[in-house]
C-alpha cells in the first residue's frame, strides 16, 4: 500500500514527520532538562488490518496509546503507541526517576497525555505549517489494550482506511524506548494529502 504515494511524496512526508518529532524532542528537552533523542527511521502506508498485524507481531504485551483527532483539509486520527510495559519507564524517564512507584502510577495518565500531545502536535503542526493548511487537534485521550482497540475506534472506521505507520525511536536518560505513531485517514483525506504534498514539493524542490 506504500505505493499509494510516489517516491517524492513519501520522502516529503518522512521529512515532515522527522522535522515534527525533532521539534517535539526540543520541547520535551525543556520539560525533562536533558537531551531527548527522537527519530522516525521509517514511514509506511498500510491498511488497517495490516497495521493491527504489525503491532500484534512486534509487541507481545498490551499497548498504551495517546489518541487525538485532527480535522481540516485532511481529517483523521493520530496515535502514539507504546508497549504498556514501557509506559511506566517512559513516565519515569520524563519525571526524572526520583519519584516512588505509586506516584509514578498516579502520574502515568497525565504524563502520557502530555508526552503524546507534544509529540503528536509536533508532527501535525509541522505538517500543517509545511503544507500551508490549518489542522484542528482534539484533546489527547489515553487508550489501552490489544492492537485492534487502537484501529477500531468509534464511529466505525471505513473499509478503505489507510494507516500511515511510523516507527519512532525515543531515547532519554539512557533509556531506549521504541514506539509507533499511526495516522489513520480515509481515502478522500489521502487524496487531499497527495495534492498538498505535490504543492509542497513544487514549492520546495
Amino acid at each position: 500500500m506504500t505505493d499509494i504515494l510516489n517516491e517524492l511524496q513519501l520522502d516529503a512526508l518522512t521529512e515532515m514527520v522527522n522535522i515534527g518529532v525533532n521539534r517535539a524532542a526540543s520541547s520535551l528537552r525543556e520539560m525533562v532538562g536533558e537531551q531527548v533523542l527522537l527519530s522516525v527511521p521509517k514511514v509506511t502506508l498500510v491498511g488497517r488490518n495490516e497495521a493491527i498485524a504489525i503491532l500484534a507481531k512486534s509487541e507481545s504485551s498490551n499497548l498504551v496509546g495517546v489518541h487525538q483527532v485532527f480535522e481540516g483539509d485532511v481529517t483523521g486520527r493520530a496515535l502514539l503507541i507504546f508497549p504498556d510495559t514501557k509506559s511506566l519507564e517512559l513516565v519515569r524517564a520524563v519525571t526524572g526517576g526520583e519519584l516512588p512507584l505509586e506516584e509514578i502510577i498516579e502520574l502515568e495518565h497525565e504524563a502520557l497525555a502530555e508526552i503524546g500531545n507534544i509529540i503528536l502536535n509536533g508532527c501535525m503542526a509541522t505538517m500543517a505549517n509545511m503544507l500551508q493548511r490549518n489542522l484542528k487537534m482534539s484533546l489527547p485521550e489515553i487508550l489501552r489494550g490489544e492492537p485492534n482497540v487502537f484501529f477500531n475506534l468509534a464511529p466505525p472506521p471505513e473499509a478503505g482506511e489507510v494507516v500511515m505507520f511510523l516507527y519512532i525511536n525515543f531515547a532519554l536518560r539512557n533509556r531506549d524506548i521504541r514506539g509507533y505513531i499511526a495516522m489513520l485517514m480515509d481515502m478522500p483525506s489521502i487524496t487531499a494529502l497527495q495534492v498538498l504534498l505535490d504543492e509542497f514539493i513544487e514549492r520546495t524542490a
Binding site: E7, L8, N18, G20, R29, I201, T204, A205
Partner: protein, 127 residues
C-alpha cells in the same frame, strides 16, 4: 570565485530543496550530492568539494558524527549542520566540532548567510 558544495541528506527531496536555494544564491557554484555518510567520506577523500551542508538526522551515522569525520580530514572545511532538533546539546556539539548550526526547515537567508561566511573563510584560507 566558484566553489563546490557537498550536500548530504538521505532525503532526495531535502537535497533538492537545498539545491534549489543554492542555485538561486550562487548559480555558478557546483554541487556534489551524497545520500549517506560513507558516500560523503569518499568524496572527502577524493577532495571533490570546498564546503559541506549536512543533515543531522540520517540512518547509520548521524550528521554530527559525519561532521567531525569530515573536519578531521579537511580541517579548513566550512560546514553547516541542518536540523529541526535545536536542543542545546546538539547545537553545542555542532559548534564544538566546528560546524555552523542551521535550523530546519532551512530558510534562504540562513543558507545565504552561511554561504557568504564560507566563501569569506575559503578566500582567507587560500590567501
Amino acid at each position: 570565485m566558484s566553489y563546490r558544495v557537498l550536500v548530504v541528506d538521505d532525503s532526495k527531496l531535502a537535497r533538492m530543496a537545498v539545491a534549489k536555494a543554492l542555485t538561486a544564491a550562487h548559480p555558478d557554484w557546483k554541487r556534489v550530492e551524497a545520500a549517506n555518510a560513507d558516500e560523503a567520506l569518499s568524496f572527502a577523500k577524493s577532495d571533490s568539494f570546498d564546503l559541506a551542508i549536512l543533515d543531522y538526522n540520517m540512518p547509520g551515522r548521524d550528521g554530527l558524527t559525519l561532521a567531525a569525520e569530515l573536519i578531521a580530514l579537511k580541517p579548513a572545511l566550512p560546514l553547516a549542520l541542518i536540523s529541526a532538533n535545536h536542543q542545546v546539546e546538539v547545537v553545542t556539539k555542532a559548534r564544538e566540532v566546528g560546524a555552523t548550526f542551521l535550523q530546519k526547515p532551512l530558510t534562504e537567508k540562513a543558507l545565504v548567510d552561511f554561504l557568504t561566511d564560507a566563501a569569506r573563510r575559503l578566500a582567507a584560507h587560500a590567501a
